[in-house]
């Protein structure tokens, strides 16, 4: 089985057509001499175009910061889940107006701070908001990680226990807007919903 041990592989030195064989193999064989050579015009041109596009992508995020109405929220705090739970309870007690499917419906003053609690397996309370008003949603979890997904406007945020995330939203349409959990949170993940009513 063991045949001639040609240790230089398929590009024997001094072969008749070493150039062709060598070139064909070059992604699988060591390069000839130094691997760096000057960029040709094709590469230089494409590299320039590509790098400009990269810079556009980069500055695009800052441009959107200046002109866009949809910005990534950054305001956040650490919070003890137990404390958060108490604050949510107090909030619900103060502003509750009704109940649906066992969940409290809460109508906070327009433009106020609004608590939204995620836990296995519901978002509470149901919120009644005014169209065109800006609310500060104070979002956290009292157990595991959840995903806050406002539908169908399709805004999505991560909800972590121990962290309070402040999300300023301005509902700009009237109707009933479901919330679903889109971070796997246990075997009841697919029953974890909530609701925002805008009028």
């Amino acid at each position: 089985m063991a045949e001639d041990q040609d240790r230089t592989g398929a590009a024997p030195d001094g072969d008749d057509a070493p150039d062709d064989a060598r070139r064909e193999l070059s992604t699988l064989l060591p390069p000839e001499e130094r691997w760096w050579k000057r960029l040709g015009p094709d590469e230089r041109r494409w590299l320039t175009i590509a790098f400009v596009w990269c810079l556009v992508l980069f500055t695009g995020m800052y441009v959107w910061l200046a002109i866009g109405q949809q910005q990534t929220p950054i305001e956040s705090y650490r919070i003890d889940p137990f404390v958060f739970q108490q604050e949510v309870d107090a909030f619900i007690e103060e502003h509750q107006v009704d109940e649906v499917a066992g969940a409290a419906i809460v109508e906070p003053p327009p433009g106020s701070d609004v608590y939204l609690q995620a836990n296995q397996f519901a978002f509470r309370p149901v919120l009644k908001l005014q169209r065109g008003e800006t609310y500060r949603l104070l979002v956290s979890s009292t157990d595991v990680q959840h995903g806050l997904s406002l539908q169908p406007t399709n805004l999505n945020f991560q909800v972590l226990p121990g962290y309070l995330y402040v999300i300023r939203i301005t509902p700009d349409e009237v109707g009933e807007f479901p919330i679903v959990c889109n971070e796997y949170c246990g075997l009841g993940h697919h029953v974890m919903t909530g609701l925002i009513v805008v009028d």
Binding site: A2, D4, Q5, D6, R7, A10, A21, E24, L25, S26, T27, P30, P31, E33, W35, G40, P41, D42, W46, C54, L55, L57, G60, M61, W64, L65, G68, Q69, Q70, T72, P73, I74, S76, A101, A122, V144, Q145, S149, Q151, P152, T153, N154, L155, N156, F157, Q158, L160, R168, T170, P171, D172, P178, V180, N182, Y184, C185, L187, H190, T193, L195
Partner: protein
């Protein structure tokens, strides 16, 4: 350590001329077989998960278990077993070198497999239904974490073994000069793997300590930062390994090489330096991070890792184009592509993989990683569509393509059923295309990921967004795509399985394949290939183009000043697509509620 022992027995490959170390060959095959078993398991799970969407009766509990195992089986076990095999192949066969410590490598394979089995046991028995991400405070059985850690440590050992093989090969002068480009790319993958596995060990280590009561709690935000070091880092390993495999497939199927190999190497260096920052993609809508931090990291520091991918996006097709033009296919802009060896499974897998990876996976990845755009994408099925485009239509298809060469060359058996192999990349690629496009569209409709019931039948507050309208249709496309893709997967495993069981042992295992180099290379006078008659008018221009830049003479048309004019058009089309998608995504974002 092993230097005093007798050298391992070797053979010279008749097809490629490489000196093959039998230990390296057996170890590469051992890991590849493990990878194929995982592919079979993961595919079985995929079809069950997809059919549950169309009414296959299954409890929610089991759906989540299967989903957890599908994720780990495919993302961790299938890809990493294969990559370990690729590391052994690259560091021994391509360097004419030997495995430095074959026994360690065998023990390592056993350890990885024990870890894999522990994790599978925990997931299938419902003790670890926490998904691949395993976010705390969700807690799994301690042995689940042990299993994943054992597997990860095994991959780490394999990476170190790769470097040891390369160092010993250099010292024993089995190759001269720099590493071949493919091995260089694999080295980049191994380096990225080192730090990915490091952060992964911290993440899963914390969870393990917590699960046995040695750590009181794990901070969910810190965990996410560490976890995505491997969660995304492992995908960057897949990326670098896949690009290396692409370059290998180009060499195998058309004998191509980069116009400027140095540029491709620089691109790999850019990956090593910057790609790890991309882990922050996953934290873009997390509490606790500032704007500048998000932008700098999610952009991989001015998108320098994206620049690397754009370099490859040019370099890979240009390699094919130049090789084909040298073979005489010089007509017009695209004769080189039209006359490509489309019946060769390695070539079709290569091209489909590059196209999907670029147009779908790469573009969606950058969109998701744009800070504000992430808000309308995070944790929807769009994310799932993106990573099926990367690791299934990209990496998996590329790995399938290279398997058609590695298996015959390593087992010295001829490929059985080459006609099935010929169609396989199209079936698999087509299926995955339907699957991923369905998922991407579903994500645009807001469909959440990892949800067992999209009709929310059992939810106290019902959600009827996805029970009617376009969503069921899109989800049907996902299921149909899954069925087609799994059919392609079965075709692949059939060809490979039959080759291993019934393939004719041969000194010339490349019969039926088109291998473009080595003592037996037959591409110069291919059977049934268009010959000089088709290319006659331009015969010889390839040589001109081959000479110094800017000295192309005797060419009338201006575009011929380009070394790879067809590729130039293709990358500009790609860039235009990229720009359009970027604008569409922002238009889409602008229609959401004002938020900040």
């Amino acid at each position: 350590m092993a230097t005093a022992t007798t050298p391992a027995p070797t053979r010279t490959c008749n097809v490629t001329g490489f000196v093959v170390d039998r230990n390296g060959q057996r170890l590469a095959l051992g890991n590849i077989y493990a990878a194929f078993l995982m592919l079979a398991l993961g595919g079985t799970l995929a079809i069950l998960i997809a059919l549950q969407r169309q009414g296959l009766p299954m409890s929610d509990d089991w759906w989540y278990r299967l989903l957890a195992s599908h994720g780990a089986t495919m993302l961790l076990f299938w890809l990493l077993y294969f990559e370990v095999a690729a590391l052994y192949w690259g560091s021994t066969m391509l360097l004419n070198a030997r495995m430095v410590a074959p026994r360690v490598a065998w023990a390592n394979l056993v350890m990885m497999s024990v870890g894999m089995l522990l994790a599978q046991w925990a997931m299938f028995t419902g003790r670890a239904t926490v998904m691949f991400t395993a976010y705390p405070p969700l807690t799994a059985h301690p042995l689940y974490y042990v299993g994943v850690l054992l597997f990860a440590v095994g991959v780490l050992v394999a990476c170190i073994h790769f470097f040891a093989n390369v160092v010993v090969a250099k010292r024993e002068r089995t190759y001269e000069g720099s590493l071949p480009l493919v091995v260089y790319g694999l080295a980049a993958a191994a380096i990225i793997a080192l730090y990915a596995l490091g952060t992964g060990a911290v993440a899963y280590g914390m969870l393990f300590l917590h699960s046995i009561g040695l750590m009181e709690s794990v901070d969910p935000a810190q965990y996410r930062l560490f976890f995505w070091g491997i969660g995304h880092g492992a995908q960057q390993v897949n990326l670098a390994a896949m690009v290396a495999v692409w370059y290998a497939l180009i060499a195998f199927t058309v004998g191509g090489r980069p116009v400027n190999e140095g540029l491709s190497r620089i691109a790999f260096l850019l990956y090593i330096a910057f790609i790890h920052l991309g882990a922050v993609h996953h934290l873009l809508v997390d509490p606790g991070l500032g704007t500048s931090h998000r932008i700098m990291n999610t952009s991989y520091m001015l998108y320098l890792a994206v620049l690397a991918s754009l370099i490859h996006a040019f370099s890979l097709p240009a390699s094919i184009e130049v090789a084909q033009r040298e073979r005489g296919f010089t007509h017009g802009l695209f004769q080189w592509l039209r006359k490509g060896p489309w019946r060769e499974p390695g070539f079709s897998a290569l091209v489909l993989s590059i196209v999907y990876f670029g147009f779908i996976a790469g573009v969606t990845g950058v969109l998701m990683g744009t800070m504000q755009l992430n808000m309308v994408i995070h944790n929807t099925l769009f994310v799932v569509g993106h990573f099926h485009a990367t690791v299934v239509s990209g990496t998996t298809l590329a790995f399938m393509g290279i398997s058609y060469y590695l298996i015959p060359l390593l087992t010295e058996r001829r490929l059985v059923a080459p006609r099935v192999a010929r169609w396989q990349p199209y079936v698999f690629g087509g299926g995955v295309a339907v699957l991923t496009l369905g998922m991407l569209l579903a994500g645009q409709l807001g469909v959440p990921r990892r949800v067992a019931d999209l009709e929310y039948a059992a939810a106290p507050i019902g959600v009827d967004l996805w029970a009617a309208g376009p969503a069921p249709l899109v989800m049907l496309a996902v299921s149909i795509g899954a069925v087609i893709a799994v059919t392609g997967g079965i075709m692949f495993l059939y060809v490979i399985g039959m080759t291993l069981l019934k393939g004719e042992r041969s000194e010339t295992p490349d019969e039926g394949l088109r291998i473009a180099f080595g003592p037996r290379a037959r591409l110069r006078a291919p059977v049934g290939e268009p010959t000089a008659s088709e290319a006659a008018p331009d015969a010889g221009t390839g040589v001109d183009v081959e000479t110094e830049h800017g000295h192309v003479t005797g060419l009338r048309e201006r575009w011929r000043r380009f070394e790879a004019p067809g590729t130039y058009v293709l990358v500009l089309v790609f860039l235009a697509w990229f720009v359009v998608m970027y604008l569409v995504a922002h238009l889409n974002l602008s229609q959401s509620w004002p938020v900040g």
